[in-house]
């Protein structure tokens, strides 16, 4: 019985983390979309394509 309880608790934790991770990703996507309108803003991916944050 204890074992079952523990498994249920673990599942609850994992479900919660999965939800938080999805929520975070959705928020980041919405920010990156909105930021495209900002002059000069580059997403992390774009920076990578440019060969990192090159300064000069």
């Amino acid at each position: 019985q204890d074992f079952n309880k523990k498994n249920l608790a673990n599942k609850a934790v994992i479900d919660q983390r999965r939800r938080l991770l999805d929520e975070w990703k959705a928020w980041r996507e919405s920010v990156e979309e909105r930021m495209e309108e900002e002059p000069g803003y580059k997403t992390a991916d774009q920076k990578e394509e440019d060969g990192g944050e090159v300064i000069e």
Partner: protein, 337 residues
């Protein structure tokens, strides 16, 4: 994690900053002499002499040519990073508690302290990113913080906003161009000072730490509190990792542990939390006094903490640190392949 001790300061550390490529670490302390070190091995490269009071704050511009400092001698100063030469001194009527360059390095802000008959403020100066240029003595912007003095402040992405943390636990958003007040939230407990504000790499969100024993992750545009990290000790500093979803918090109760100087390792800890899940992952002990500042290498290779004990502890991460993933993170990562 292999710790390197940067010993050279004679008094409590106040702020620690990495250069944008992570090669150099700039440190300031109550001993008046800002220093620069190689992050790879902790070797001291040089220092910047001129301040005649405790140095509270430091920042370096994006191309690592100009260093800004603020001190208890009521001056904000600009230095040539490479030569150590003093380039400019701005004088005020009170201490400078925080300095920060805008993301493009063309503006510099200084947070001034409250004093009798002197209102606390955030002063903004235009900066010419050239070590040979004559910098302006006149401020471009002055924001008076008459409700509650600002303790920390910085520029958002594109310097669109200036965000400040205050003595009363609130966080304010100002227009970056006009200085106009836009919004204010009670981010931390009332009358619990905001002690630090550090940005995410793209400055669309930031983290604040407070004496209320918590740190908060807040959005730049809406000042929405996304995450709360709860600890059991007053916090002095908080930083966001660039390559992993972690945050690192530093603080400590000053009076606890006064007799540990004989011990090989102090009991004051840097605390790691998962940025998204808000739970504590681990602690790194070592300091003999509260951690006054924590900074993360923008390339993610190391972190540094500055302590009340006068030491900077520099930790390079092991491979296992980067490989570690929560079950659901691994699941999401493999799902993408």
């Amino acid at each position: 994690m292999r710790p390197v001790l940067l010993s050279g300061h004679e008094r409590a550390l106040t702020q620690v900053k990495y250069s944008s490529d992570g090669d150099l670490i700039f440190t300031v302390a109550k001993d008046q002499i800002p220093s620069v070190w190689f992050s790879a091995n902790g070797e001291r490269l040089g220092s910047y002499s001129g301040h005649v009071g405790a140095v509270w704050t430091v920042d370096v511009n994006p191309d690592t040519t100009l260093l800004a400092t603020g001190a208890a001698d009521n001056t904000m100063r600009l230095w040539n990073v490479k030569t150590g030469k003093l380039l400019k001194t701005w004088e005020f009527e009170s201490s400078i508690k925080r300095v920060e360059f805008s993301p493009d390095g063309r503006q510099l802000l200084g947070v001034t302290e409250r004093r009798q008959n002197v209102l606390p403020s955030i002063m903004v100066f235009d900066i010419i990113p050239d070590v040979d240029a004559e910098q302006s003595s006149e401020h471009a912007l002055r924001i008076i913080c008459d409700e509650s003095k600002a303790t920390v402040a910085g520029f958002s992405y594109n310097a669109k906003y200036i965000i400040a943390g205050h003595e009363d636990g609130t966080v304010t958003q100002y227009d970056g161009k006009t200085g106009e007040y836009i919004d204010n939230i009670q981010a931390h407990e009332e009358e619990m000072q905001v002690t630090d504000l550090q940005w995410s790499p793209d400055r669309t969100y930031f983290i604040t730490s407070s004496k209320d024993k918590s740190a908060k992750l807040i959005t730049t545009d809406d000042l929405e509190v996304l995450k709360t990290y709860v600890t059991d000790t007053p916090l002095n500093s908080a930083a966001i990792f660039p390559v992993k979803d972690y945050v690192i918090l530093g603080g400590g109760q000053a009076a606890m542990d006064v007799t540990t100087t004989s011990a090989r390792q102090g009991k004051f800890e840097a605390r790691f939390y998962h940025k998204i899940f808000e739970d504590e992952i681990g602690r790194v002990r070592g300091h003999f006094g509260p951690l006054n500042y924590v900074a993360v290498d923008p390339t993610g290779k190391s972190y540094a903490s500055g302590g009340e004990d006068g030491y900077v502890r520099l930790h390079h991460f092991d491979r296992t640190f980067f490989d570690f993933m929560y079950e659901v993170e691994r699941e999401a990562a493999t799902g993408r392949l």
